[in-house]
């Protein structure tokens, strides 16, 4: 059995998650500052990759990153690299598809955040950067974890957009999902199940680690102590 899909999937999902998390947070950060109408429009645009069937997303990505597409031409000219079928094409596809998850989750968390703490920080003269990184983000950590887990899961399960942009080049762009699909389509269910199993193992491992690692400090400390959340 070929284990390359495992590594490719891991790489793809991890890198895509990192990108999705960063882009998602940044997008959420700016969107909450908008008026209600603009927020709706931003939501519409930024959630698009979830609304459209992945194949369609993949098709648009192909057009955009293809050698005649704006991004494709740019990369070709500047880096002499073709994106389509490259090893980072699955990453791009997964990122695009996973990022709305992070974006929307973080938007919710930011909106829910206790403004009093922000005001307190502002009157202390703390910079917006500090407020964001050291106060708002840590305060939204549970949503951040939720968004990250979802983005990772989506990145792992991504297939429609990936195969369109990245093709199915064994050892290069064939992720687990693509391998599962291909094996199933070829009628090789045994192989498909093996890949599905690997999928499951990865996702369980990630979920467990996420649950064991996170909330650790505050949890231990919070145990039995009412969280006085800045109250007296």
């Amino acid at each position: 059995m070929d284990y390359s899909p495992l590594w490719i999937s891991l790489r793809t999902a991890l890198v895509a998650t990192v990108f999705a998390v960063i882009i998602g947070i940044v997008a959420a950060y700016y969107v909450i500052r908008l008026g209600r109408l603009l927020k709706g429009i931003a939501d519409g645009i930024l959630t698009l990759p979830m609304v459209l069937p992945p194949t369609v997303v993949g098709f648009f990505l192909l057009v955009f990153f293809g050698i005649h597409g704006p991004a494709g031409r740019f990369f070709l000219a500047v880096f002499h690299e073709r994106i389509v079928f490259s090893w980072y094409a699955p990453i791009i596809a997964s990122t695009v598809v996973a990022f709305p998850l992070m974006y929307r989750t973080m938007r919710g968390a930011f909106e829910q955040f206790d403004q009093t703490l922000v005001y307190a920080a502002q009157t202390l003269g703390l910079s917006n950067t500090f407020i964001f990184w050291r106060i708002i983000l840590p305060g939204s950590r549970y949503s951040m974890i939720a968004g990250t887990v979802l983005a990772f899961a989506r990145g792992l399960g991504e297939f429609g957009a990936t195969i369109m942009l990245a093709g199915n080049l064994p050892g290069k762009t064939t992720t687990l999902s693509v391998a599962v699909y291909a094996a199933m389509a070829a009628g090789d269910n045994a192989l498909a199940y093996k890949y599905v199993l690997i999928d499951l193992v990865i996702s369980f491992a990630v979920m467990l680690v996420m649950n064991l690692v996170t909330g650790e400090p505050s949890r231990r400390r919070r145990k039995n102590i009412p969280a006085a959340k800045g109250g007296i």
Partner: protein, 255 residues
């Protein structure tokens, strides 16, 4: 491209058969058909409405593999219209279709396509092995029939080893078409009917005769169907001249 219009045979019996269900009982037919058949089949179903107004035909288009799985899992279907013999044979072996009703209705051609505005470097299948082509898109030979036929063809031409090194595999023909269409590969191999739907690609060559087993589209009645008669009647109609001319129009080879 000129649609091949020579289809003399099997017109007489079909037109007589087509008259019978019009007087028959009302029936609902579900036909599971390969997605590539969508356009001709939709036209034919619309036309059939005038022939047999009592019969309602609902098509469900998906990939042949998905359709096979659905029938295996007992999806309520009357007719299976596959894009390849593999799925049909599998169901036949499973005893899920009425073997006697099986008809190889259509054929398709395997063609080599290039992006329309590409500088003409590729003149035929032989050129794929040359330096003119750095990337070729094929269906995945393991799962996509068109890919299997392409592999057969290159094997026949003794070029498979060189070609497979440049190949990128799509999970269906549509993808191959998209890649060629968008110029991300130099050429690709698809069915002729698919090539005709895309005006951004041009057909360079058809696969040489005998280079692969014929591309046939078999159809059959599903054993679990509760409308065997109506299904048989529709299959008859599909073999009529009226129906075949529609397939013709979309580039299929009808016998």
């Amino acid at each position: 491209p000129t649609a091949p219009s020579e289809s003399p045979s099997a017109s007489q019996p079909a037109s007589t058969a087509s008259a019978s269900p019009s007087s028959g009982a009302a029936a609902n037919l579900t036909i599971l058909a390969a997605a590539s058949l969508t356009q001709p089949l939709d036209d034919i179903i619309a036309a059939y409405k005038t022939v047999a107004p009592n019969v309602t035909i609902t098509p469900s288009y998906a990939s042949s593999g998905a359709l096979q799985t659905q029938i295996e899992q007992g999806a309520p279907a009357d007719i299976f219209f596959s894009a390849a013999t593999k799925q049909m044979d599998a169901l036949d072996q499973g005893g899920l279709i009425v073997t006697s009703s099986k008809v190889d209705l259509l054929k398709n051609e395997i063609v080599l396509i290039v992006p329309k505005d590409a500088p003409v470097k590729v003149g035929g299948f032989g050129d794929v092995a040359t330096d003119a082509v750095s990337k070729i898109a094929l269906g995945d030979p393991k799962s996509v029939p068109a890919g299997q036929y392409a592999q057969d063809t290159f094997n026949y031409l003794n070029l498979w080893d060189t070609v497979s090194a440049k190949a990128t595999y799509g999970s269906d023909v549509k993808q191959v078409l998209s890649w060629v269409d968008s110029g991300n590969v130099d050429c690709g191999i698809v069915y002729k009917t698919d090539a005709l739907t895309d005006e951004n690609v041009k057909v360079i060559a058809e696969a040489p005769n005998g280079s692969h087993t014929p591309v046939v589209y078999p159809l059959a009645i599903v054993k679990a169907s509760t409308n065997q008669d109506a299904a048989a009647a529709f299959i008859k109609y599909l073999q009529s001249d009226d129906a075949l001319s529609v397939f013709d129009k979309y580039g299929f080879v009808t016998k």
